[in-house]
């Protein structure tokens, strides 16, 4: 659903149902973003409701005039509301810029597979599934990708969410997060490369490529 000037004016004139349609169209994708930051369903829903209320007031008060792209404006509110709530419950501020690395043998992108593999070490993931001879099935691939997404640091997951789910460009993400475009591109690239590496380690390469082709 594209929010244009006509829709904004109709909401200003009291057509609240249109705002409900906007909420329905954007709520899940926006909720995914707040979950990546807050990691708690209740807090994420509160934060998202707060974001929608801010959007509604911005429309009613005429602060949003549909001149800028709606999704950039909206996800910026969603991100900042989540960060505000994060600050309320956490002593440390949310750090999207740098990733803390304490290991001297650290290689770029190690943090992407570190948590995922730590889970395997702790038997949180069924080790029987961690084999290169594994036959490729949709559910197994989904399982590994889901585990990977849940394990990666928020410095990556927030950017991936904005890029793949919220359909924001590298530049828009850079503006919202106040980080260089290069960092955004680099993190998306590294996250994908690490995912590829993990998939090839879990499955037979030829079989996997054959499966993907189909």
């Amino acid at each position: 659903m594209e929010v244009n000037l006509d829709i904004v004016k109709r909401i200003q004139n009291g057509e609240s149902q249109l705002f409900a349609e906007i909420a329905n169209a954007y709520k899940d994708k926006a909720f995914s973003l707040t979950m990546k930051i807050l990691k708690n369903r209740e807090e994420a829903e509160d934060s998202l409701q707060d974001a929608f209320m801010k959007l509604y007031k911005a429309i009613i008060n005429g602060n949003y005039e549909a001149k800028s792209k709606f999704s950039t404006y909206f996800y910026s509110i969603v991100y900042n509301s989540a960060i505000d709530l994060y600050r309320k419950y956490n002593v440390r501020s949310f750090n999207i810029t740098s990733i803390e690395i304490n290991d001297s043998n650290y290689n770029e992108g190690d943090e992407l597979s570190f948590n995922f593999e730590t889970k395997i070490d702790k038997n949180q993931v069924n080790t029987a599934e961690y084999s290169t001879d594994k036959r490729v099935t949709e559910s197994e691939i989904k399982n590994i990708i889901n585990q990977y997404i849940n394990a990666i640091p928020e410095q990556y997951s927030v950017i991936l969410n904005m890029f793949f789910l919220n359909d924001l460009s590298h530049e828009e993400i850079s503006v919202i997060l106040k980080i260089p475009v290069g960092t955004v591109k680099n993190r998306i690239f590294r996250a994908k490369e690490k995912m590829k590496e993990l998939l090839f380690r879990h499955f037979n390469k030829e079989e996997l490529l054959e499966y993907i082709k189909v």
């Binding site: 409900a20 789910l165 590829k196």
Partner: protein, 141 residues
Amino acid sequence: MENNNNINRFIDKSFEGALLEKTGTNFTENLMKEIELTKVFKKEDKRTFGYLNILIISIAGAVITSGIALLVLLGSGASENGEREGVFSVLTSMFDNINQRLYSLIGISFTENILLYFGGIVAAIILFTFLEKAVLKRGYN
């Protein structure tokens, strides 16, 4: 090359699915209830401020009227034999009486000048309040 493109496309699509999380089923319903409540509060706020404005205007009107009345009372002339005349003569003598008692008790009395200054200060406060309300209009937050 083709394999690489295929796996990239596959990962892009898979990421989208893996990243998506859904809100509770009543999310939009609750949000719209919250919005409706905000509208009600806004209407109530408007009504309350309307009443408040009427109250302020009434008080201001009463203060100004009383001030003018007092000035008229104090300014009403005495007759040639020294006695005050007119409808306000009783009120004026009562005011003089109170004034004398105040002077004997706390050492000050209300002269015309003091009342003028007092009236001026009250008028300035009222004017300031109205100007402030007109300039700093309460936003819808």
